[in-house]
Amino acid sequence: MEQVINAIVLGSCYCLFALGLSLTWGTLNVLNLAHGAVFMFSAFTCYLITQRLHAHIPLWVLAIIAMTVGAILELALDVLVFRPIRRRARTLRDAELAMLIASIGAATIPVTIAQQVTVDSPFSITSTAVSTGEFHFGSIYITTIEIVIVAVTLAATIALALWLQRTRNGRALRALAVDTDTSGLMGISQSRLSALALIFSGASAGAAGVFLAIFLDSLTPESGQDLLLKAFAAVVIGGVGSVWGTLVGAMILAGGETLVSATTSGTWTDAVSFALIIIILLVMPSGLFRRLRVDRT
């Protein structure tokens, strides 16, 4: 039972982080490798603030700060890096590749700053009032932060799904994914929508950052990279661009990892996510939740 709760919380963290990755990959063809650095830097900003103020800051304030930082960072990434590339690249493939490399370059900036400030050591956010609460249900107990993580993840997943399905902007973003040129002719602005998508992506990375920093007690400047690799798997399992697929993919991945680390020595745990990526893409390339557009074959 304890293991099941662990897997659900872990899966929620993967999902919250992976939602932004899935959104930008699925609709804008951007594989954003700076997502992990944004995640880390949002948590790192909260760490700096709690360090300086020595005060108890409520979790929701920290979450808002982290989401703002994340949103600003990814918005800057879109405007300063992705937009010029989209304008200059000759083909879609060139643009995909250029944006991937540029996001790697962009990721080194926040990671280096954090490494220099912390002198390559882990940092932790401790002075929050919320992180200590516990609930007991018979033999099992759940901490407040675990409940918050699961609740926020569900809320973010539902909100993103509804936004993409119901709103004008969401529909425009999906249209952009199917045919950029035609949707351009219909008056859909790619730059505006890609900015919106990256703001959402950054905010969810920020939230994941602050929650995971509290849940795991500490993060390192390199934490984002490990999570990025897991998120790839979650996105691919569920099907790129599928919101519910990302949630299911994250849960399958977390369940599989928990199972493997409980039954083997632990050194094989990392293989789970990579094996899932290979199997899914070779056997059912559109993931468990098929999207409208199939561009993989």
């Binding site: 200059r88 083909t91 280096t112 993989r296």
Partner: protein, 316 residues
């Protein structure tokens, strides 16, 4: 000069190894195949060389075995990956690389587990490294001039078009995978033979990032780009050591600037400088954003015409 050379001998060795890895990335990327399998090949080559060299196999034989084995592996790997394109292919090859790292970590005696293998006999000289790198460069540059190279260029621009002018897309993909794997494998083997150690950490995510950066920042159009990229990645930390801990930021900003503002990479910038700074920095840039998934019609026809194959005139 001599003292300076001796102080930087390691950097020259690293550059030679990186050139081969960059070429390995370049040949696939140039063909429009988004594959990171080069790093997996690097890993297999590195461990194969370590095992052969410790058993007293001569360097030349070791390298030949690695070339033959990796060519076969690359060719066979291309078959199940036939139908994957774009970022999806990138993701699978990335996962294959990372699984190899986990396998190496759990590999027992053959791979030395998490600490890796060390004390491999140092049997190759810097001159030898340079020679192998030159052979790799010659191979790729000759390919560029050959009709194969021109077919590859069309393949990158527009696969449908390539098919329509009689390019056997499937066969080319297999050959390109094989060539890329052979180059990557040799780079890995040389790395082991030169530095005498190999660890699981030496060919993971970090090397994928380094290899991609070299190929793209240098410029994927020509072997010269791979050379420039290898020099950039190998020498940057030393050259910029006066910047201290924050030099990685300069590196990141340089990578972004080159990639975002010059699609032809460092090679494009140097060609622009050679032209005396005349003309636009990036040549052939379409005035309007390119349509999704295909080169602008004008470009496609031009590159098809360059193929120059009688009876396959795309313009007619």
């Amino acid at each position: 000069m001599n003292i300076w050379y001796e102080a930087h001998a390691t950097l020259f060795q690293t550059t030679a190894i990186y050139v081969l890895l960059a070429l390995s990335f370049q040949v696939v990327l140039k063909s429009g195949i988004f594959s990171f399998a080069s790093v997996g090949a690097f890993g297999i080559g590195a461990y194969t060389a370590a095992n052969l060299a410790t058993r007293g196999v001569p360097v030349v034989v070791t390298l030949l075995i690695v070339v033959v084995a990796m060519t076969a592996v690359g060719y066979l790997l291309a078959i199940p990956l036939m139908h994957l394109r774009g970022l999806y292919l990138g993701m699978v090859t990335f996962a294959i690389d990372e699984i190899l790292v986990v396998v190496a970590t759990n590999g027992g005696k053959v791979t030395g587990g998490a600490v890796g293998l060390f004390g491999v006999p140092l049997e190759i000289t810097t001159l030898g490294l340079g020679l192998v790198a030159v052979i790799g460069v010659l191979l790729v540059s000759q390919l560029e001039r050959h009709s194969v190279g021109r077919a590859i260029e069309v393949l990158r621009g527009d696969e449908q078009l390539a098919r329509s002018v009689g390019v056997e897309v499937g066969n080319y993909r297999k050959l390109i995978f094989a060539l890329s794997a052979a180059l990557g494998g040799v780079a890995g083997a040389l790395n082991t033979l030169n530095f005498s150690t190999v660890t699981p950490g030496s060919f993971g995510f970090t090397l994928i990032v380094a290899g991609l950066t070299m190929a793209i920042v240098g410029g994927i159009g020509s072997w010269l780009g791979a050379l420039l990229g290898a020099i950039f990645v190998a020498w940057f930390p030393t050259v910029s050591s006066s910047l201290g801990g924050y030099r990685s930021i300069v590196y990141g900003v340089l990578v972004i600037l080159v990639v975002a503002y010059e699609p032809d990479g460092l090679l494009g910038i140097i060609r622009w400088l050679v032209r005396g700074g005349r003309g636009r920095l990036a040549r052939g840039r379409p005035a309007v954003p390119a349509p999704a998934g295909a080169a602008p019609v004008g470009d496609s026809l031009a590159s098809a015409a360059e193929l120059g194959r009688p009876g396959h005139d795309a313009a007619s």
